[in-house]
């Protein structure tokens, strides 16, 4: 890796000043599981690494009085999936952070880093977007908020200016009879980058009818994308097979994948439908109070009762 300056500010304003001093040549360091890989390969060249893990706002999870949850941008995955409020209120986010990389990656990688890396295949972005998450950003001229669903603008590109810092992600307070689910298709069982993934959130009324929903796909477009037509297909229904099939068709129509080493256009279009149907079915079941295991737990269900 090329030589680089390392700084470790203790506050958001200090971090912003350090980023602003070297526009485009300074980058925030959280877990390093994307940034260090890029610096080592030469894909990214910067002069200054700003380690943000010394800033409380970026390393804490806070439950607000109104029930919304603030996740610091640099909080590692393992802290997210161990937090009772997130386990209880955002199962789709739990699904995602539990399958980012493997255990060692989850010891360092963060939601904020996954979002700022802006990969078309980010596993946590569809879940955060489906949950209605908002990115809280600080810059030299003040703070601003951007919905996570609008944060990524192209492969590796986001709305973040070079002198801005993602501080935290705010998840709205969970509502009764609502739940989320994320799953992806990968060749192995773990560690891979999604070939296609879908994150869904639904809210039900007291009769079990879907009143609201959000569906986001990953790895099938230059950025994670929402599928409004899949939402239309399930709102007003109880998530019957025909409604889910219509949502799947909408996902296939919305997907704009490329063919690359991980998959072909045809496979990814097909998977968009399959993953969307399963994500919606899982979200609806969870909203009804049923237990739906995430991919990280499915193996426990398979081995349940087996003699080992």
């Amino acid at each position: 890796m090329d030589n680089v300056e390392y700084v470790r500010p203790g506050s958001v304003s200090e971090a912003v000043a350090l980023l602003a001093e070297k526009p485009g040549k300074a980058r925030a360091l959280a877990g390093g599981t994307d940034l260090l890989v890029q610096l080592k390969s030469g894909r990214r060249q910067i002069d200054r690494v700003v380690d943000v893990k010394g800033i409380p706002d970026l390393t804490e999870i806070r439950v607000n009085a109104d029930g919304s949850v603030l996740i610091g941008a640099a909080v590692p995955c393992f802290k997210v999936y161990s937090h009772p409020a997130i386990i209880a209120g955002y199962p789709g986010v739990i699904d995602s952070v539990s399958i980012v990389g493997g255990i060692a990656i989850q010891g360092r990688a963060s939601l904020g880093g996954n979002l700022c890396n802006g990969a078309p295949s980010g596993d946590t972005i569809p879940s955060m977007a489906a949950a209605g998450a908002v990115a809280l950003i600080a810059g030299p001229s003040g703070s601003r908020e951007v919905p996570v669903a609008e944060f990524c603008t192209g492969p590796g590109q986001t709305v973040l200016h070079p002198d801005e810092l993602l501080v935290a992600i705010r998840l709205p307070a969970p509502r009764a009879h609502s739940a989320s689910h994320y799953l992806r298709f990968i060749p192995r069982n773990e560690m891979d980058i999604a070939v296609a993934g879908a994150g869904a959130w639904v809210a039900l009324d007291s009769h079990g009818v879907v009143t609201e929903a959000r569906v986001f796909l990953t790895s099938v477009a230059p950025t994670p994308i929402g599928v409004p037509d899949a939402v239309k297909a399930v709102v007003g229904t109880r998530g019957e097979e025909s409604a889910l099939d219509a949502a799947a068709a909408a996902a296939r129509a919305a997907a704009k994948p490329i063919t690359d080493m991980r998959g072909t256009i045809a496979q990814r279009v097909h998977l968009s439908g399959v993953m969307t149907k399963r994500a919606l079915a899982g979200a609806i079941a969870r909203a009804r109070g049923e237990h739906v295991p995430g991919a990280h737990e499915a193996h426990r269900v398979r081995t349940n009762g087996a003699a080992h």
Binding site: M1, D2, N3, V4, E5, Y6, V7, R8, P9, G10, E14, L29, G31, G32, T33, L36, V37, K40, S41, D47, R48, V49, D51, K53, P76, F78, G101, G102, I103, A104, I105, G107, R108, R188, N189, E190, M191, H296, H299, R300, R302, T303, A306, H308
Partner: protein, 167 residues
């Protein structure tokens, strides 16, 4: 706040606790913890496999969590407590994982083995009685080119038996 001028390549003093011992070393910001362990501290038990977080050969425990030391900067280790493969065995003996790996012949070239043992030792701290699927899931970040994994998985499950019931 630690600040270093990129062009002067000034080294930084890093103080950490490694395998229970207080250690001080000099690191350039660009050096990963893996490089510092191997090249600065001569602790070559931790191996370099891929250098990009895919293979787990560089696994160490930092601040109580399994990490890839190739993706941690040496300067980030300042003030941290780190366990490497050199710190796994008790004084004068072997960790049950090491015993099990030998008894099950769970290594051939051995380059992946330190990473697997550090990783598995963390699994057994979190889950003293993992199923085979749970072992495979936890170890998914550790790659082996020689064994085909079967004996490694058996060794980890055998080690969990040794640790729970003595054999």
């Amino acid at each position: 706040m630690v600040a270093v001028d990129a062009h002067s390549a000034t080294k930084v003093v890093v103080e950490a606790t490694i395998n229970g011992q207080s250690v001080q070393f000099l690191a350039e910001p660009r050096q990963t913890l893996l490089e510092c362990l191997r090249d600065v501290l001569s602790m070559t038990g931790t191996k370099e496999g891929c250098s990009d977080g895919n293979c787990g050969a560089c696994n160490v425990v930092m601040d109580g969590r399994l990490v890839n030391s190739c993706l941690v900067l040496g300067v980030e280790a300042n003030g941290q407590s780190i366990t490497t493969i050199e710190g796994i065995a008790p004084v004068g003996g072997l960790h049950p994982l090491q015993t099990a790996f030998l008894e099950e012949a769970a290594l051939q070239c051995g380059i992946c083995t330190p990473g697997f043992i550090v990783s598995a030792s963390e699994l057994l701290k979190h889950n003293a009685h993992p199923s085979e699927d749970e072992v495979r899931f936890w170890l998914s970040g550790n790659l082996c080119r020689c064994t085909g994994y079967d004996k490694i998985v058996r060794a980890v499950m055998h080690a969990s038996d040794i640790m729970r019931v003595g054999h």
